[in-house]
Symmetry: C2
Subunit: 337 residues, 2 copies
């Protein structure tokens, strides 16, 4: 690929992103000091179009980048744009003072949306090295028990289970047996440790024990945190296009936790900042959008993914820089606390 053609493509992308209008050869030469005449640029454009990187909305209009064009732009051309001082400061102060995990996640979403001016998506961190710190049983009604699992990261999960009528003593004993077996054991091994426990229970406790342990298993075996938080939906306004066909499906997708999770998971699975442009996206509803996602945290501690969704025509260099910066900052913050 000719070096100048890359320059041309880059110029087209940046101009189109900032103006939202097809860009022609003349305007391009004027704004970018390419050192060649419009006619030459036209020839390059013809080639770029033939190869599928750009297209014209209609004959005798300027060119706009295709998804493939953006892809090449992102892969080969975009130099990282450093963040502005204001952005750095915003990121640097946004999390200080965050109390618990909920708070951190909530703040991160706001921060990300604010810095990128896009829709922000943040997944709750998964703590892989988590150990079970304590199991508590609380009697709510005579026949209903609350099972609470506290993990070393401070996370608390709860769940009610129906049980046969029981005495406080029975409950206390079951609780002690369970705690004795699993306290300070890694969460992922808890299942294996609980199974043998069932067999050791004295007869009068089997019913209760089975119910509690089943509940506890569900508590620890459900994928740790399959929650995502979305923010900055207002930024969809930047789409500009008509609501019905463009924005409605996106809103729909944003309400589907499952979709978002898979999206983040697939995109950030590689362990690196990833960009999914337009039709590269596996979900129909999001094929007019691009996704920038990245993992954050550290794999041997707390980690998950975060990212943004925006129109294909977005400022990739600076948005990518912002997403990366936020991810790094949150990672550092998590490591400290």
């Amino acid at each position: 690929m000719d070096d100048r053609k890359l320059q041309v493509l880059r110029a087209i992308v940046t101009d189109y992103v900032s103006s939202q209008e097809p860009v022609g050869s003349k305007a391009l030469v004027e704004r970018h000091r390419l050192g060649v005449s419009p006619a030459t640029v036209r020839n390059d454009m013809a080639v770029l179009e033939e190869e599928g990187y750009i297209t014209q909305p209609h004959t005798s209009a300027g060119r706009i980048p295709t998804d493939k064009g953006y892809r090449l732009f992102v892969d080969r051309i975009a130099q990282v744009k450093p963040l502005s001082v204001a952005e750095r400061r915003a990121i640097g102060t946004f999390l200080s003072g965050a109390a618990d995990l909920d708070d951190i996640v909530a703040r991160t979403v706001r921060l990300l949306a604010q810095v990128t001016h896009q829709v922000a998506i943040v997944q709750y961190p998964i703590v892989s090295t988590e150990a079970l710190r304590h199991v508590e049983l609380v009697v709510l009604h005579p026949e209903r028990l609350l099972v609470i699992a506290v993990s070393s990261s401070g996370r608390v999960d709860q769940r009610t289970v129906e049980v046969p009528e029981v005495t406080e003593d029975d409950v206390a004993e079951v609780k002690n047996r369970i705690n004795g077996a699993v306290v300070d054991q890694p969460v992922r091994e808890v299942a294996g440790l609980l199974a043998p426990l069932l067999d050791e229970l004295p007869p009068h406790l089997t019913a209760l024990g089975t119910a509690v342990i089943t509940g506890l298993l569900q508590l620890v075996s459900t994928e740790p945190d399959t929650r995502v938080v979305v923010g900055g939906v207002t930024n969809l306004a930047r789409f500009g296009a008509d609501f019905e066909s463009t924005i409605a499906p996106v809103l729909e997708a944003l309400e589907e936790q499952v979709v978002l999770l898979r999206l983040l998971g697939e995109a950030a699975g590689g362990g690196e900042l990833t960009v999914r442009i337009g039709q590269e996206n596996p979900y129909e509803q999001l094929q007019a959008t691009s996704l920038i996602a990245t993992p954050y945290g550290s794999p041997d501690d707390a980690w998950a993914s975060l990212g943004i969704v925006g129109p294909t025509r977005m400022d990739y260099p600076s948005t990518m820089a912002s997403v990366r910066a936020v991810a790094r900052y949150v990672s550092r913050f998590l490591a400290q606390g």
Copy 2:
């Protein structure tokens, strides 16, 4: 107010709501068997317009209702439209199988959005008769403690506190003292019960006890549940109008938990189903929308508000019926336990 004029207003509202287009005298007579001629209707319309109930977008166009017109319609004319069988069935089965409170709320939002085809807002129930069932302390790090409060409704609140380095025994003792004092006491009285406890602590426990009790107090004194859940944002598509000026501000408002809470609170404060039409709404961003809100649950148990936000031009009778039906159903479900 003339009886026939009310009929005319009612006809205008219903026709406009279903067609989204200004309605003229002729079409009105044809569709509604008023038993009078278009000319007569025109006279009535002129009066209605003078009194501010309807208006014309431009000379020589049909009439559309004003906010004041909708108000009168809602207050005096709308007969409750019974729900369809399908709707009844949807409502009747939607909650069965809900596990915990989170689940109930999440399902209710979806149900409400689906039945009304509007944006649904549900506030978490506030349990006023709640008693503190159990307090648990879990050591996370040597200098960090997790305080967990379990209430009789099954709600679990947690919070970390920083403490001087402590022994397991100290923690256990503090825990026992606290539990001894507050277990099964109404949440609202816990603050009073904890204060004297502080003075009775032996010297070596004061530092720890103070930290824990302070944390616990914050846990139980923060307004019980100031959370709201929003769903069905896709239904904003029904607005039809241009995005920038109409929908963007609404989306913004929907992201502000505080705004939503006040909105629901103010509207449903009267204890009845309440309708806020267009400019009756205290929030600028929502003045192109109407709000239908109602309390649910029962005041001496768990209660809160829920409602929907939609375009001013909505089908008030059936939407009101749906909101009321969902509220009643959720109330019943909560009462059962």
